[in-house]
């Protein structure tokens, strides 16, 4: 009797999720059908609705980005590819399609950053923030467990070679986790959404235009001032653009 009650409770608790999952799958299939038949506008609308329901599924962003490529909306496509990469950073298809779509852009920005900055970015982008944290916590777990075993055993040296090795790994893991935190939460990257976007020397229309760029260009938001954002490009140029001209890559 007790078991039956427990089963019913679990069933009642899971029921909304199961129903929602079935509904999501149905919309997803409809969206895919729209993509297959060339009804990209409908597919995009459905993928957008799926993302509104489940904002942490990389596939939805990826498929939406593909749909936007078909519709010729390259900036939206790149934005969604970037979002899907945040959730699924080792997906080769996403990377390949992002590279392809960037090749279709009118503007191209040379990356003149130092090699170690580029290397760090590439390494950190190979894992999600959560994955990096899990690894760091796991290493910390091993380190703490080693310490506890030492005290419980009551023998030996705390700083034995194994513990030192784990400590060094822990330091590295913490460093990587810190870097990932900075990359994900401090450095805010954004995509230019307008066909033509003017970057000014100051946060107003009256300030002189510093440079122009086109849709799909990736920028780093360095500062915010009312409706303006100061952005930095990978070639070292920086300027102020309207907030409405860019969209942050944020999941």
């Amino acid at each position: 009797m007790k078991r039956l009650a427990l089963f019913l409770m679990i069933a009642l608790w899971l029921a909304p999720a199961v129903c929602a999952g079935a509904e999501t799958a149905k919309i997803f299939q409809e969206a895919n059908a729209g993509y297959r038949t060339g009804d990209y506008a409908k597919a995009a609308e459905l993928y957008e609705s799926l993302i509104a329901q489940e904002p942490h599924v990389a596939v939805f962003y990826y498929d939406l980005a593909n749909t936007y490529v078909r519709l010729g909306k390259l900036s939206r496509a790149i934005l969604n590819y970037e979002k899907s990469l945040r959730l699924d950073p080792r997906n080769g298809d996403i990377r390949e399609n992002l590279r392809y779509t960037r090749g279709l852009l009118e503007y191209r920005v040379e990356d003149t950053r130092n090699w170690y900055l580029k290397a760090t970015e590439v390494v950190l982008k190979y894992a999600t923030e959560r994955e990096v944290y899990v690894v760091a916590l796991a290493v910390l777990f091993v380190f703490l467990a080693g310490g506890i075993l030492f005290f419980l055993n009551g023998r030996g040296v705390f700083w034995n070679p194994w513990q030192r090795f784990v400590f060094i790994v822990l330091l590295l893991a913490v460093l990587v986790a810190f870097g990932k935190h900075v990359q994900s939460n401090v450095i805010r990257d954004a995509i230019v959404m307008q066909k033509e976007c003017e970057a000014h020397y100051g946060p107003s229309e009256h300030d002189q235009v510093a440079f122009r760029m086109g849709e799909g260009i990736k920028v780093f938001v360095m500062d915010r001032r009312e409706d303006w954002s100061r952005v930095l490009l990978t070639n070292g140029e920086s300027g102020w653009v309207k907030d409405s001209d860019i969209a942050e890559v944020k999941v």
Partner: protein
Amino acid sequence: MKKILCAALIIWGVFAPALQAEEVRVSASLDKRSVQPGEEVRLSIRVTGQSMNLQAPRLSQLDGFETYYTGRASHISVINGVSSSNVEFSYTLIPQRAGRFTLSPVEVQVGQNILRTEPLEIEVSGGQSQMPGAPQASPQRVTTQPSRPSSVPQTIPQDEAFTASPGTDDNIFVQAWVDRKTLYQNEQMLLTYSLYTRYDTRYEGFDKEPETSGFWIEEFPMDRDVPRETVRANGKRYVKADVKKLALFPTAPGNYTIQPGTLKVSIREEPQGSNAFDEFFSDSFFTGGSFFARRQNRLLAPPPIQLVVKPLPENGKPESFQGAVGNFRLSAAVDKEKVKQNEPVTLKMVIEGEGNIETITRPKVPALTGFKTYDADTNSKLFQTENVIGGTKSFEVVFIPKEEGSSFIPPVEFSFFDPRQEKYVTLRTPNFPIQVEHSEQNFQMPQELAGNAIFQKQVKSEGKGIRYIDEKIPEAFPGHAADGVYAILLWGDLLLFVLLLVLWMKDRQDRLFSKDQALRRRKTARATASVNMSRLKKLAHSSKEEDAAAFFVELEKAMIQYITDKWNLSTYGVTRQDLEETLAVHFGADDAHLKDVFELYRLCDESRFGKGSIPQASKKIGLKIFQDTVNRIERMRK
């Protein structure tokens, strides 16, 4: 050691007298007594009987002659214990004008003595002669056909051949010259470095390499003994040697300037002396120079060379032409004429001839239906004959017939441009018939080609596009699992951290207590008292008679243990009086609580020695006194 000394003495005894036995004689001779102006005469001064430490004699100024020293030769022989030696110094005399001349005696210093040669007569007759200052090319320079090894034209343009750079020593210079100044793209041109010298000279190599951008270069290996010849220029005689030869192939048409670079040579300084080593180490490049003679380095920079490279004519250029220039022959063969389906046939083509063989590419093989075609092997061998670069290059192509029946490998064309005839030449391989028999064997890469990736066809991208959408919703579980793992690890780490902290503090306390027992007792007194208090409370609730007795026994023990722990007194040897004195010291003799403690002792004594049951209230009073005592002392200690 003694043996060595004996041997040295014997050798000295045998040879020393013999070496010094012969009388020293000096003589001079001319190889001809009658010459024409400008004609070379060799003067030899021979010293016999003494060849050690001789200096080359200096010739006095000879009016009407130009003279220069050309080296020395020496010879020592010991026959039947008698030695003979002679040294011959050679000079070249070039008469400048007609007349009858007498060469005055030449002085030779032999040890402390000065010996003189006899005077020599020479007649320089007039008539048609090679006048001084008239440049004269070497008689060896001839023009021959390029198809043979010695066929490249070698004629030096007369206006350049014998000019030294202004302001430099005109007794030595280098001429860089090319066999042609106008040539076709990819046609061979010979760049030669000729060294002209009137000194005892040694060629040391390039100091600065030539700048030949736009040219494919092949270097000719030079012999150690460079052939030399005597030539005359500007009224002077020079020894000339071609010290370097390069074959250049221009890669594109246009006007070019070749900077020939700088050559390094060393010349022997005027002979100042000679010794025994000079006799044996005569190793000069041109003349009998000495290994130990003082030498002076010179850098020689020939002037730049202007060239015109003509483009290959478009007119008549065959489709099979791929840039080969020269003169070539083509031969071809197949390894078998009868094969089974999917069995390979190898066509080997050999191109042989003169020209830049390295740049020749495989002749285009026509597309064959019914055959799979693979490039198999390419080999080239370079020949560097006297003045021509040539060689052979072979190409192997593997054909694998897919269908049975009679078939053939059609002629393969190879075209080249012949610069001598100034026209394109096309060569063809024969038509090779192939009989293909039926076979059930499926196609597979021939064993000789398998494992070599270059023979496999490349997978090539046909176009660019985006990859297809992902139609599979990812399982919800992995994402949640990651969240779960993250949460477990986070809380687990927190827990472990707290646990580790506690263990660390306990460990620290244990270490401290192990060093100070009094401290340990003092710090743990209250905890022990609390444990005892709990046990006493249980006993107090019991209604059994024996439990009541046990209660007061335990109460007294607990009291004693607490007080002794607090002040580090011996638990076993302490008396009630000791306790009372200790409490009196800390509480004060008139303290009210001290009386309570005495009351507690009284109750304990009554329970043990009194008759009749102990009321429940006494237990509570006892407990309260114990608790108050503990609290009082704890407060006091703080």
